[in-house]
Amino acid sequence: MIKAKNNSKLVFKNARIIDPCSGFDNLGDLIIEDRVIKDFGVNLLKNHIPDDAQIIDCERHILCPGFIDLGANIGEPGEEFKENINTASDAALASGITSIVCMPNTDPVIDQIPIIQYIEKRAKETNGVKIYPSAAITKNLEGTQLTEMGLLLEAGAILFSEANKVISNTKVMKQALTYAKNFDATIMISPQDPDLSKNGVMNGGALANRLGLPGIPKVAEIIQIERDLRLLESTGGKLHFINITTNDAIIAILNAKNKGLNVTCSTAPHYFSLDETAVDEWKTFAKVFPPLREYEDKEAIYKALVEDKIDIISSHHTPQDQDSKRLPFEQAEFGIIGFETLFPISLDLHTNGKMKLINLIDKLTYEPAKLLNLNTGKIKINAPADLTLIDINTPYQLILENMNSKSKNSLFDEYNVKGRILCTVVDGRIVYSEPSFEYN
């Protein structure tokens, strides 16, 4: 572990600094002072090395803004046996994530100010990853009555979401979009038509039929997206679709963007690295919502990311304990943990998909920062020093047992990957360093 000499001064030297915001991608050095980025650039230390600073030799590894993760489940309040803010924070920091947006489908639901305050208090106690609570769009996620959006925003809500649900009442959805516009607030939807996806547990189609499982047809996604885009067109406002899984969705969202609508979308690594065959014979770890789709859609999502048609990659981190997964497939809970596989799995887009590294990092840093109006996710003088240092060359193996998340429901156990996080910095403070990472 790295022990800081002087908490307020840190120097990262000899790093490949990548900042998608400015397009900076160069070998150089970076100085942190008083929680912010003091300076960075090529040959910065040539003439002057601050002697009272902690100096870290980055050995030409990648230094980029810390990742910002939309829509993670962190177990609090209500499901502390699956994850708590401490374990979520440890897992996130070990993954290079410095900010997370947590979902409102907690118990109780994040639809009132005290619950926002509770999460902020817990985050402060944990003093690790930055946690931005999202609040429910409707009270108790029931889809009928709007929450106090203005007051919740004042209390610290970063955006509004119904978690895995949608607002099936078209009028309520219209009101939500219209009302949120008063505060320039973002509405985030995981789009699956509720009637078509009711009781469904995996992708609808031939495989579901063979396994005798009720399916969620592909069309459930595009139907919801098209309705919500129609509404957005009439109301204006900011809409984000999280967990896009189908090619049709990409096309529809692209068309809406071309029309000038303020819409963005994101997907998660399992949707571009796995398909429905991961369900194999009722493997409940492959039960996620929305479901893993067919090979063609997986490929389409992958391609859309490379071609910059999807804005953001998020982990969709959903911890589930053994008792929630060791059940018949239909009874098992949805979800897969995602923090610690977020970057290593996404890096394939660069190594095999020929995506520029800076563009990949953009989807994990500056793009979500823009969506959330955060003054982080970029390397800029006087911006908060939220950074991560990554080795993208050395192969290693993902080991489920070694993951920091309290629940170990991942499908990526024993995957051979690259993209190990060496060090993570939040507000100028080293909050994680890889045990084997040696520095001068």
Binding site: G204, G205, A206, L207, N209, R210, L211, G212, L213, P214, E281, W282, D323, R326, L327, P328, F329, E330, Q331
Partner: protein
Amino acid sequence: MHALDKWLRNNSISRKTFSTKLNISIATLSRYLSGNRIPKQEIMQRIIYLTDGKINPSNFYIIKNNNSSSSFKNYKNDHLLGIENLKEDEISSLLNRADEIIKENRLEPKVNQKYNGKTLVNLFFEDSTRTKTSFELAAKRLGIDVINMQIETSSIRKGESLLDTAMTLNAMQPDILVIRHSLSGTPHLLANKVNCGVINAGDGQHEHPTQALLDALAIRRRKKQIKGLKIAICGDIAHSRVARSNIKLLITMGAKVNLIAPSTLMAEGLSYYGANTFSNFKEGLNDVDIVMILRLQRERMQGSYIPSAKEYFKFYGLDREKLSFAKSDALVMHPGPINRGVEIDSELADDINRTLILEQVELGVAIRMSVIEHLIHNLEFKK
């Protein structure tokens, strides 16, 4: 190799020496070892005495089955979880033995002592009369002790108890666990956790392998062979585990399969197995040898799948007029229980010349005996 042969070799005793000790001819001993004869009681006691109890009656009974049918060789699994992935010779093995059992049943007393001391647990998480009774009867005819567990639907709603229940039962060391559950894949989940043989007696909308096997047996007994037959399966294909198992089995055995259902009750992707799909009853029945009618669940008769039972019967219920589109000697099958006047005309259902419905029930016992024997044999072999 016979266990006794192995014992003789391990103890360096020749067959000749051993037969002298038993006071029998070497030819008789050979017949014991090949399974063509079972030692009389007094000789059996000598064998037990001479081998220090290492060889006991069960060694002879098991081997007898093996040789008389020569079929056990082909079914090597410890479980019967589904028809999927079974090969033609594995299915034939199960059917052949059932055929033999039917012969034996007619000649011998109903209960024999072959598998005394073995235990079968019927673990039913879903209501069932015929399947459960059929398994119970099959086990009892083999001399197996049967425990029936009817799990109250209310207590399984939590789900957590499922694996716990199975582990508790496993600790009692049964030989066979027969499970029916409303959720697909449950028998597979349990099979990974328990040490005994697991038989799937119906899981959700996935499979019901013993039903498909008994259907195949019924067809084979009437039509001599399955290969080359044209078989129509009609009704609620989408939600039917019987249909899934039957499609897989019949196609594996070389039949042509037509699936007939209103499109709301047709399942996507079953053509994967090579079945043809029809929404027109008459077209689908053209030239078929066997018409299998599926039961229509009551809750699907109204609502969005089909508008009413009346409409369903008009277009998809089997009556003599529609049956006339099939071959003139076509036979009708139904897994039961029947909804008279919904999926099949009542009078037609009772026509023993055209339907195999009661025969199916009778054959169910034989096929289940065959499956149980196979699994016990395979489990013994592993020990």
